[in-house]
């Protein structure tokens, strides 16, 4: 926790990305988006952790268990970035970083 508490450091529990998929129209769009998210996460070497809160079309992809070494993590990051940047269904993506927030 001490290591990951630096603002800008990678999120808790390893690497994670927020992804905004192009929304589809019609019935069953949520299910289709979910399937699309699963496939995209798999292609990127990540796990689909599900929709982000109530935001339609936004999904959280997380690092699978087992990638502990720095080289493996870096390789995973590059793979994920490459896949997410190029995929036509991805409207926006961003690696999740720690935010610094203070009580007032």
């Amino acid at each position: 926790l001490a290591e990951t508490d630096r603002p800008g450091a990678q999120g808790p529990g390893g690497l994670s990305w927020a992804v905004h998929l192009d929304s589809l129209e019609g019935e069953g769009q949520e299910e289709t988006l979910e399937q699309q998210a699963d496939a995209l996460a798999q292609a990127a070497g990540l796990l689909n952790a599900g929709r982000i809160g109530e935001l339609q079309g936004y999904y959280l992809f997380t690092q699978p268990a087992g990638h502990q070494q720095e080289q493996q993590v870096e390789a995973l990051r590059q793979q994920a970035e490459t896949v997410l940047a190029r995929h036509e269904a991805v409207r926006w993506h961003s690696e999740q970083r720690l935010l610094k927030r203070a009580k007032r």
Partner: protein, 646 residues
Amino acid sequence: SVHFNDPKYPQQWHLNNRRSPGRDINVTGVWERNVTGRGVTVVVVDDGVEHTIQDIAPNYSPEGSYDLNSNDPDPMPHPDVENGNHHGTRCAGEIAAVPNNSFCAVGVAYGSRIAGIRVLDGPLTDSMEAVAFNKHYQINDIYSCSWGPDDDGKTVDGPHQLGKAALQHGVIAGRRGFGSIFVVASGNGGQHNDNCNYDGYANSIYTVTIGAVDEEGRMPFYAEECASMLAVTFSGGDKMLRSIVTTDWDLQKGTGCTEGHTGTSAAAPLAAGMIALMLQVRPCLTWRDVQHIIVFTATQYEDRRADWVTNEAGFSHSHQHGFGLLNAWRLVNAAKIWTSVPYLASYVSPVLKENKAIPLSPHSLEVLWNVSRTDLEMSGLKTLEHVAVTVSITHPRRGSLELKLFCPSGMMSLIGAPRSMDSDPNGFNDWTFSTVRCWGERAKGTYRLMVRDVGDETLQPGILQQWQLTLYGSVWSPVDIKDRQRLLESAMSGKYLHDGFTLPCPPGLKIPEEDGYTITPNTLKTLVLVGSFTIFWTVYYMLEIYLSQRNVATHRVCRSGPCHWPQRSQKAREEGTELESVPLCNSKDPDGVETEREGPPTTSDPLAPDLLAPGDWGPSQDRSTLNCPHHHLAPDLLQGKEEQIC
């Protein structure tokens, strides 16, 4: 006429100030008319809420709560080394501490329900914030957020992509479509010359930004000036002045009650509580209605150090105190008779590329943009609410920059105040400043942005690369604004504040939430363990039975030909060693007629093996006697007219 037996109520000067009458939120008259926040849920987004404490438990809403740090439904705070996780509990007590329980204090909206979202006690990401802002957003009406980016006088930060999307989604879809109310504390960076326009939560159009004044009505040492602050309410001041009395946690060093809650953290929950009172009398107030009512009813008061300026619409604003002090009586009476403001209209200018050098003070760079009637025709925008300016500026020392915005009326807003501690060399990259000082003024006209460098002349000059103007408002005309002001003043006697007068409210939208019930990871792990354990023992037991049955069949029954059920002796029955199960096999007449056997085999069968008692089905016995291959029987093996074919 309001009396409570809570021992610390007399010290809650912010509720009823006997020492300095008038220096309180003026709520007792509201309570007398039975307006206490009933039917409204306020959620404290913080480090947790100790909901088991007796001042909170009766009003606690588990349905609106969650713990995002531990990912479970219970937002109980965790004890920490610094004894600091009492913050959320103190904020919660300000809002909804239970009255007349002979314990500690009373909340502003003591009839409301209070929930907690624990999110500050651990690593926090943009996605977590987004989840927090919309968590249980059909249950939680008001989100009280007494936190933000660092108030160190050199941070420029706010909600990121997901947080922004969640705030916007909250005001669109939250609270049955009337919009979640987000109340934020303006910040405690006063000592560092901080300004809440460098805080994207505080200068957002979607949030109600609240600052603090001390018991003497002055700006405390920690308070920040800000053009996008809506109003102020009471909090602690310097050490000679009283702080806010509220519920505390009772973990570690806590006692359940504190007299030391302070900062803008203490002001925001009081505002949240007052908004809860408003929503009780008029549940269909939209998020914009709430902001309008605050602007219309906040009271300017005498403070020579504050630069009060009255704008074209007649509203007085100061960078120190916003539109003034929140007044619960005025807020609730205004809410009671309020009809909704028209739809949100907006205008966005083109991106204005300037690439001009920023001169040193006293000279300024001035850029203009004219908004014409034609520009506003499509949206119908007539009068302003928030005005936002998005800029990109390069400069070797960001804190040396000063930005001022002038609305068409000439109303000046210091949107980018110089900050001596901010030495960032990266300037502003599409940062949005905003002001509320032009609220109610006409939108049409020329807007002026003035930028200057108040720093060291030895540094390279900054460059204003581009800027963009965004106007928010409505189709209300200036006359409509004046009419509404008159209407509200007529209600301030309290003549409408009774059950006999109620304006109709639409029912709102039915918006399903994301999860009715989710299994938490811990529950899932427990289920998997129990399931695995059950499966293991099932398989083991089945193997045990199977193998024991196989041995019995091999040795006694199925050596050749059809299986014969063992005979059972009378003695075995008496001794209770007889198998209780009924054999599942059909009897077949040697002529081929099958009959169903109904009872255990008789002891007259000479070939029947010894009686099988429970426990005889050892692993070597074949339980699949029913599947024995059919063999032709030797005549001497035939027993009577029937043979059993298993």
